[in-house]
Amino acid sequence: MNTIDHPDIAAPAITSGPEQTHLRAGFIPLVDASVLITAAELGFAAREGLTLDLVRDVSWANIRDRLAYRQFDVAHMLSPMPIAAMLELGSNPSPTIAPFVLGRGGNAITLSARLFETMQAQTGLADDAGALDCAKALAAVITARRRDGERPLALGMTYPYSSHNYELRYWLAAGGIDPDRDVRLEVVPPPMTSDALAAGAIDGFCVGAPWNMIASEKGVGRIVATKQDIWASSPEKVIGLRPDWADRNRDSVSRLIVALNAAARWCDDPANHGALADLLAQGANLGAPVDIIQRVLAGQFALDAKGNARVVPNYFVFHGAAANCPSSTQALWVYSQMVRWGQVAYSPEAAATAASAFRADLYAAALGLSESPCEEGVADAFIDGRSFDPAELEAYVRSFITPNQGATA
């Protein structure tokens, strides 16, 4: 079979037959779809000889199924989704890989304005209190509510395998709250969060931009923590592909990564944020108010409707600091949280499977980078002062299992 191989001639980029260059890409209307939308609409994909058809969808379950059933070739996904898929968790898991991260940041935790007032009244919490102090104040309110026989607080997030689920749980636990016993976690579609908060159906939520800002500007919610407060390095959305499709379309995958990389660099430049906000605000993309999107991109947070504000530097990182690199450190951290909250058991084999979802090799090959392109190693500090070293994964996972939590598992 290898008789016609010429080792002195470089292998051609296209190895087998014509590849697919017309790609259907599914996305959910969120600011963190910026890189994908920009690649499709501002010519970055076309420059690489690709046509990207964007298809807006309404649920992560649809995105997952339509990728699995070949309705989509490319999918805007929550970073834990390919990991859950590889571990065969949830409904309809189908092998999925992530060769590109669409950036960091964008999430925040918002509590109802009324709940925040209660926290202030009961604990003397300052208007500009930090994320950890807010979690501790919430813990005090929860204890008081339990003593008074009130119903447990309901908090919304987006999907069982989402950064929002793990970030919300991390923040609650850092404040001393057990997310499975002290509160009720519910899934609320992001566009419905501020209405659900206003109606009192939920008492708070953790979702992506611009929905926190929309709730705070309406005066129904108070932003108490951003993703940066919890873990700045956490990957947010990724590009998901079917591994068999990626194998058959290696050249297209490389072109896609090059296009996304250029689009990400463009999105990261503050000089382009005006144009990006205009593009995102269009009805077919996000259809949200352009001024709110602009402030989201700038990290200018209106914390509430009373005028308390905060600027979060690097609230969105689309490209800088190797934000696009799908690092195994990130995949393993997500896996550690899946174990922590009982979604999967710990084993070294499962850890390897989880890490295999993030394909830094494809990212590196497309961009001509070294074999380990991500800045691997010990990640920056978390809200509770811990750090995550992937080399010490098992010890890290065990460190979360307190006798208390062990009893519920």
Binding site: V58, S59, W60, A61, N62, R64, D65, R66, A68, Y69, R70, Q71, G90, S91, N92, S94, T158, Y159, P160, L185, E186, V187, V188, P189, P191, M192, Q343
Partner: protein, 195 residues
Amino acid sequence: MSHFDLTILVIDENAVRAAIIEDGLREAGHAHVTVVHTVNGIARVIETTRPDVIIIDIENPNRDMMEHLFQLTRSVSRPIAMFVDRSDSASIEAAVEAGVSAYIVDGLKKERVKPILDMAVIRFNAFSRLQRELADAKSALEDRKVVERAKGILMKLRNLSEEEAYALLRQTAMNEKKKLADIAQSVVTAAGLLM
């Protein structure tokens, strides 16, 4: 045991479409069908009915909420999304296009589920057709109204008979390669501005 013993839950915010699906299921001999129009309180419904098959419209953003619920309640044992037979791409495409999604209790034989899904797809499509026809009929009625008004304006302003007014509108539409209703609308709009 026949496939008619399956318990089926239909979740659809559109009450008319839900009724069409329910009819289809009952006609096919399914006696255990529950229909709900809202996902509020769905946990209890799932707990009490213990469905083998859940049909939910694909445009419903609450699918993510359902999947979270499956993790919590465990009353539906490991429900899997949509298709038992992933190689059957024609059915998958037909269902996605029709807007049907479904959950099926793991272990259920595909021969038992396929007729249910096929029926749901046909009924979803029938509903879309119905809606389209209704919209067409409504716009035809609107068109006729505006043509009548345009004719009236022309008859009054240019002293034409009804036939002549209609002929003038039609001729103009043909000359301009536009729809009769569009020309009539321009006449009505112009008259509103000029009179």
